[in-house]
């Protein structure tokens, strides 16, 4: 794998994470418990889809094969997506959405901050733009974890349940593979395992305020970076890609 190919794969993965989470959040619009959360979720989805477009446009440039951001989003099959499995998990209830945002964004913020210091200038620029948005999202998710965790007996139990349910998907965030290692070597990308202590600290701080317990680390799911997904991704793509599959090249 040469340096351009490494950067391409790395950039596409960032795009895949943003797009898949953006699509999941968009699915939740009209289903939030209150109007303010409705707007918040719509804003998050918009930020993620915007970030996905920036990553995919950069990937298209790197690839130089005439594919566009839309081709990456709408014309690739499930095994070609290399997003984290956590992000394709179905929405569930509001607590599940908050838990997913909280666990992922506590990591993503650290990843973006590290990318702001890497040597790939286009990624530095996208990361510097995105980091401001994610900082804002994470504050919101953390506030809800605390509010629900330190709320009623029911909300506490549900929030704890959401964390327990999603915890086995968090290990994958810190498991680097050949692409991560090559990007770290060639372009100064982060060593994912080294982000873990800061993540743990951030998560523990919020959970303590929320009177919630950090789930035990046990067996962790992985496979997203090898294109091996849970059964949920196929359904997500079927809905998201329908229009371009049924009416190739449709524009509006």
């Amino acid at each position: 794998m040469d340096a351009v190919e490494t950067t391409l794969r790395y950039t596409l993965r960032l795009g895949d994470n943003a797009l898949i989470l953006g699509q999941r959040l968009a699915e939740y619009v009209t289903r939030a418990p209150e109007l303010e959360e409705e707007l918040a979720v719509a804003n998050f989805a918009l930020d993620y889809i915007g970030q996905a477009r920036l990553f995919y446009s950069r990937a298209a440039e790197l690839e130089g094969a005439g594919r566009t951001e839309d081709d990456f989003a709408f014309l690739r099959d499930g095994h070609e997506f290399e997003n984290l499995l956590l992000l394709e998990q179905p929405n569930g209830h509001f607590g599940d959405i908050i838990a997913r945002q909280f666990l992922f964004e506590s990591f993503y913020l650290l990843q973006l901050e590290a990318l702001c210091r890497c040597r790939d200038q286009p990624l530095v620029e996208i990361a510097a733009r995105a980091v401001k948005e994610i900082r804002y999202h994470l504050r919101h998710a953390s506030q809800w974890v605390i509010r629900l965790g330190d709320g009623t007996v029911e909300s506490h139990a549900r929030m704890q349940g959401s964390l327990d349910e999603l915890w086995p998907w968090t290990g994958e965030m810190f498991t680097g593979d050949a692409v991560d290692e090559a990007f770290a070597r060639d372009s100064g990308g982060p060593d994912l395992a080294k982000l873990r202590p800061a993540w743990q600290q951030q998560v523990d701080g919020v959970l303590a305020k929320a009177t919630l317990r950090r789930p035990e680390d046990g067996w962790m799911q992985d496979g997203g970076k090898r294109g091996r997904h849970s059964e949920h991704l196929g359904y997500l793509l079927a809905e998201m890609q329908f229009l371009q599959r049924a009416y190739p090249g449709a524009l509006w």
Partner: protein, 165 residues
């Protein structure tokens, strides 16, 4: 071809300030009281020998207004016989510190609390209707990514605040 010649001719006297002045008529699609210059979305105008380049930057990654802004900038200059190249730049990332003084005043008159200047970040948020500082933030997220929702505890009216980022 005739379009190309007009640009050439225009460039002999065209100055950056003039182009910026024209762009002051280009309204932001989501907050029409502000121009794209007030908002700081227009980062720079470069007049070259062979054309005019307008650099624009998104307020947020997912800003859905970028395509419309691009078109409107093209149209505004086309009316003056100039065919610009509109280029999107990400760096440095947009900040509310770039909003012009005129922009801040227009927003306030429109009923949206403008983003506070860096030196005044700790000032309380005053209601744009009754000026009371007894206000509560309802949500960090409003009708567009750049605004938060607030309520005045004195006159009980809801209002929007342009967030500082």
């Amino acid at each position: 071809m005739s379009g190309g010649r007009v640009v050439q001719a225009a460039n002999r006297w065209l100055r950056k300030e003039e182009v910026l002045h024209w762009l002051e008529d280009v309204a932001d699609p989501e907050i029409p009281v502000l121009s794209v210059v007030d908002l700081g979305v227009v980062r720079d105008v470069r007049v070259h020998r062979d054309g005019v380049e307008v650099l624009i930057t998104p307020t947020y990654s997912g800003c859905p207004a970028m395509e419309v802004i691009e078109e409107r900038v093209q149209e505004a200059l086309a009316r003056r016989g100039v065919t610009p190249t509109v280029r999107r730049v990400l760096s440095p990332p947009w900040t509310t510190d770039w909003m012009s003084g005129a922009g801040r005043r227009k927003l306030a008159q429109y009923g949206i609390v403008p983003p506070r200047a860096p030196a005044h970040r700790d000032h309380p948020i005053a209601c744009p209707r009754c000026a009371s500082t007894e206000t509560t933030r309802i949500s960090e997220f409003g009708s567009t990514p750049c605004k938060a929702a607030w309520r005045c505890n004195a006159c009980r009216e809801p209002f929007e605040q342009f967030k500082c980022i």
